[in-house]
């Protein structure tokens, strides 16, 4: 049987880890998409979803570390990953640049995540076969 032609996805995650299942469902979906030969053009963290980008998340050792699992996945497949700037700054998610700009003492967002605007969401949406929104279930 012929396999279907490869397609591309933009994945928007709006549910935070440890308060929703959204990051896990999105990760399982993204892994399956890549196994099937498709491409993930962009992972865009929006609203509470930006918490997934925090390097400071320190879950108990017997629980899944969703931020770490996502980072490994994004790095190993070199997927552009964006943390929405407006959502991030309000919630205390800062990279080095923003941390200096707002004179804060730490930065919890590093590569592979970039802090950028909604333009990244729109551009990847327009360039992908499908955009999926992984919202919290509450």
């Amino acid at each position: 049987m012929d396999s279907p032609p490869p397609q591309s996805f933009a994945l928007v995650i709006t549910g935070a880890p440890y308060s929703s299942q959204a990051p896990q469902t999105a990760l399982n979906f993204a892994e399956a998409a890549i196994r099937a030969g498709h491409k993930v053009n962009q992972v865009f963290l929006y609203g509470d979803g930006v918490h997934l980008a925090s390097n400071f998340a320190s879950p108990p050792s017997d629980e899944s570390d969703w931020p770490a699992l996502w980072r490994v996945f994004i790095e190993s497949h070199q997927i552009p990953a964006t943390c929405c700037v407006a959502s991030a700054l309000r919630r205390g998610l800062l990279d080095e640049t923003e941390s200096r700009r707002y004179e804060k003492t730490g930065a919890n967002v590093t590569a592979p995540y970039a802090i950028a605007g909604l333009g990244e969401w729109l551009e990847s949406t327009l360039n992908s076969s499908r955009t999926l929104y992984f919202n919290p279930d509450h």
């Binding site: 709006t14 929006y46 609203g47 605007g117 729109l122 949406t125 327009l126 929104y133």
Partner: protein
């Protein structure tokens, strides 16, 4: 790829959480990049449109100014579900807003390629 048309659905009440504001930002962003985009207020979301809101009382910013600028931002239309207005007892929504009140929203979504909820 066919031309895209975006419908942003606000179905959550104002002030209790930020979903409505964040979907509004997406709608303005899509419109700013010249994408055909419209808003739909339905279910508890119609409470965004009530007249006389004074969000200073809960130390939040009003969104009605943003909404009244929606057309300037290039949004095609702000649709509202009549049934939801009735349900929440909103006889006359904010007269400062240019609204398209729909008796039924069931056919609306079919006219858009991308229907976005948060």
């Amino acid at each position: 790829m066919t031309d895209r048309r975006f419908l942003f659905v606000i179905d959550t009440a104002p002030y209790g959480h930020w979903k409505g504001r964040e979907i509004l930002d997406m709608a303005f962003s899509a419109a700013a990049f010249d994408q055909p985009a419209a808003l739909l207020f339905t279910h508890a979301g119609v409470n965004w449109l009530r007249s006389g809101q004074l969000p200073d009382a809960v130390q939040q910013k009003s969104v009605s100014k943003n909404l009244s600028a929606a057309m300037l931002f290039g949004l095609e239309a702000i649709y509202v579900c009549q049934e939801s207005l009735d349900h929440f007892g909103i006889g006359k929504p904010d007269p400062g807003l240019e609204l398209v009140v729909l008796a039924s929203t069931s056919d609306l979504e079919a006219r858009f390629t991308d229907v976005v909820r948060l």
